[in-house]
């Protein structure tokens, strides 16, 4: 809402600030798009800002071509991300409900410890995770990595779900119980439907984190066929003797952006609302 009446010069300044910020935000991505959609022969020095011709060859090349990484890495990332999202949603709902509804003496302290854990660098739990998984014979398994993702996203998830449940009036549950509904039915018919928005946010955040994860799968997924795109795209940087394959790398990055930007677009309004509660943490 416009509280303050701005002079023309003030509006102008404001417009400039926003314009510069927009340029800063979008130009890097637009450049990636530009390299991805122009033929490789145009991605040489000296480079023209506007490409003279466009092609989809790089995108088809990275997905289906001989030197591409294929669809498999993206499928892997999706599988890991969705699985982690589901587990995170379940764990967060259970934990959040317990902490919201029950006045546990240690509940507050528990929440704090859990949240503090998520502040720590996720890269530093990789080697111990590697050791734990190897010692129990689970190294290289999909569930090992998925649970690792879920554990990283659950602290924030519990915190968000606790907040969500606290906003659901307990009278609703009490009324249902008085009417004779079992605890289970109450959950299913009354509480969960109201909690869905929060659960969606938690699941989406967990999916995004899983989809974007790099350092965990770098060490925990040795088999090339099971690696997500974040690790697979590294190949374009390390290829012997060919320099960095920018057209394919850019195309591969673009493909990776599609699912996460879609998920983000769908849920951004909810994210903005929830995010205002104190900020989400990325590790």
């Amino acid at each position: 809402m416009e509280l303050v009446r701005f002079s023309l010069s003030q509006r102008f300044v404001r417009a400039i600030v926003v314009a510069i910020a927009l340029a800063f935000a979008l130009l890097p991505l637009l450049w990636v798009v530009s390299i991805a959609i122009r033929p490789g022969t145009q991605s040489v020095y000296p480079i023209s800002i506007i490409p003279t011709s466009v092609t989809l060859d790089n995108i088809t090349g990275v997905l289906f071509g001989k030197t591409g990484i294929g669809l498999v890495p993206y499928r892997n990332a999706a599988f890991y991300g969705i699985s982690a999202a589901v587990i995170t949603a379940v764990a967060s709902t259970l934990g959040g409900y317990a902490l919201a509804r029950y006045n546990l003496r240690s509940g507050e302290a528990l929440l704090i410890v859990i949240l503090a854990l998520s502040f720590l660098p996720s890269a530093s739990r990789i080697v111990p995770l590697f050791i734990l998984l190897s010692a129990s014979g689970q190294y290289g398994t999909a569930h090992g990595v998925i649970l690792a993702y879920a554990a990283g996203a659950t602290p924030l998830g519990i915190w968000l779900m606790a907040g969500t449940f606290r906003q659901i009036p307990i009278r609703l549950e009490q009324a249902a119980r008085i009417d004779g509904a079992s605890a289970f039915l109450t959950m299913r018919k009354i509480v969960l439907p109201l909690a869905i928005p929060g659960i969606l946010v938690v699941a989406t955040l967990a999916f995004i984190d899983g989809w974007n994860s790099f350092s965990l799968p770098l060490i925990l997924i040795p088999k090339e066929a099971a690696q997500p795109y974040t690790v697979a795209l590294q190949r374009y940087i390390q290829e012997i003797g060919y320099g960095i394959n920018w057209p394919l790398l850019s195309a591969g990055s673009l493909v990776a952006l599609v699912p996460v930007l879609t998920a983000f677009a769908i849920l951004q309004r909810r994210l903005v609302r929830v995010g205002g509660l104190g900020g989400a943490i990325r590790g």
């Binding site: 190897s134 010692a135 190294y139 290289g140 040795p222 390390q238 012997i240």
Partner: protein, 447 residues
């Protein structure tokens, strides 16, 4: 915390940790294992896992593994599949190391290793003792004598030589032409090197006259050794207990690098470059001279190059000599080892034996300009003539030196490249940088 919860958690942890499959064993603390090759397992093995270097399993190029040796093995053992996977050098090292901790399904039966890793891997118990296989091996006498003993660690055979390579200097003929230099003649002395580089700097702007790897990884030291050896110096003393690379010869060799950078003939950015970053620059004409590369570069052609285009683009020769120095180059190469945890050792040996056969290796070695380690392979000189610089390489092989085959080699080189970087970056004088590195290496090697 609630006592009940504590109990619940403890139970779960105990139950969880009890589920340790018998298959994943802790790596033995002892060195070269005395494990005998396992008797053929009762069940027919279905898979033989081979971890190789990526360019040995590249589609469309000659491979030593396939198609014949692979088909032969699979035909002799119905139901068996040979699974080949390739990796870059760094990834290969890492995955071999990591394989020790993984479950049995993630361990290779055969793995290809750089000869400089052998000491460390034997120390860690990853390799299987191959003495009994060598004892009955018909091809044993075919191994070139210079290589025969270097697969032995602590008295027993731990690997099989696969193929070797040497280092040559390469230059871009295109850049030479533009600089007014004779494209067929590379510099033969250090003085000529500087003169050529200066000519390139003046006449061909935008091109780096000289490049060499100086980043924090192995190719930095590997591509430098030729210049160390030619001065008469060495890396370690004859008994491999003390560093000698800081003697006058070593300082002279490193000073070459320092001078090239300080005179603007090599960019300081070399400190971030690996050998793999640099040699495409020579092909594309971004750099004039690369001081040392594996073979003559023919073995890893970038897209768009074939043999004929190669010869008109690249010149190759032995590294140029300092005054009063002796021709020298560095030898490297790859070996094959059987994983000590493998349950298919006999099968693995059968495959290795057929893959490393002299005649089988030649097509791969020709295409990738690698040096045969078998007399039968070397005898096929005609096949190698496809490489325009084969004669030069054969001569170079005669003056090739190997790095020391010790377990601590891989830790040692980090100290060495750090010292080199300090000198190149100007943080320390050449003498101080090398002395500092030598002291640290001596400490590292002390028993």
């Amino acid at each position: 915390m609630n006592r009940r919860l504590l109990a619940l958690l403890s139970v779960m942890v105990i139950v969880g940790s009890a589920c340790t499959p018998a298959a994943s064993q802790a790596p033995a603390a002892t060195g070269s294992g005395a494990s005998q090759p396992a008797a053929t397992t009762a069940a027919t093995p279905t898979k033989l896992t081979v971890w190789a270097r990526n360019y040995t399993v590249e589609d469309g190029k000659k491979q030593p593994w396939a198609p014949e040796p692979k088909a032969k093995l699979e035909a002799a053992h119905p139901g068996l599949t040979v699974e080949l996977s390739g990796a870059t050098s760094g990834d290969q090292f890492n995955r071999i190391e990591l394989s020790q901790a993984g479950a049995v399904e993630d361990k290779p039966d055969i793995f290809q290793l750089d000869n400089i890793w052998l000491g460390q891997f034997v120390d860690e118990g990853i390799t299987a003792n191959l003495d009994s296989y060598y004892a009955n091996w018909a091809d044993k006498g075919d191994i070139v004598p210079a290589y025969a003993d270097s697969t032995k660690v602590k008295g027993s055979q731990q690997a099989v030589w696969f193929y070797s390579d040497i280092r040559m200097m390469i230059w871009s003929k295109d850049v030479f032409k533009k600089a007014g230099l004779d494209p067929e003649k590379g510099p033969t002395t250090w003085a000529e090197l500087f003169a050529d580089a200066k000519a390139i700097k003046e006449k061909v702007p935008g091109v780096n006259p000289v490049e060499f790897p100086a980043s924090s990884e192995e190719s930095t030291v590997d591509r430098w050794y030729s210049y160390l050896y030619m001065t008469g110096s060495n890396i370690l003393s004859a008994d491999n207990t003390k560093a000698v690379f800081n003697d006058a010869g070593g300082q002279q060799a490193l000073q070459l690098y320092v001078d090239l950078v300080s005179q603007g003939l090599a960019p300081k950015a070399v400190l971030s470059e690996t050998a793999d970053d640099i040699y495409p620059h020579v092909f594309s004409g971004k750099t004039g001279i690369m001081l040392a590369t594996v073979g003559d570069g023919l073995g890893s052609l970038p897209d768009g190059f074939d043999v004929s285009k190669f010869q008109s683009t690249i010149g190759a020769a032995l590294p140029p000599l300092c005054p009063g120095c002796q021709p020298a180059t560095t030898a490297g190469g790859w070996m094959l080892a059987i994983n000590s945890a493998s349950t298919n050792k006999d099968l693995a040996w059968e495959y290795i034996s057929s893959v490393t056969n002299g005649a089988n290796m030649v097509p791969f070695e020709v295409e990738r300009t690698r040096i045969p380690v078998r007399t039968t392979g070397l005898a096929q000189a005609d096949a190698f003539k496809a490489d325009p610089y084969f004669a030069a390489e054969a001569e170079a092989a005669k003056v090739a030196h190997f790095p020391p085959f010790i377990a601590k080699y891989t830790s040692m080189i980090e100290i060495l490249w750090t010292g080199m970087q300090k000198a190149i970056n100007g943080d320390l004088s050449t003498k101080d940088a090398l002395d500092q590195a030598a002291t640290k290496v001596d400490t590292l090697l002390a028993p």
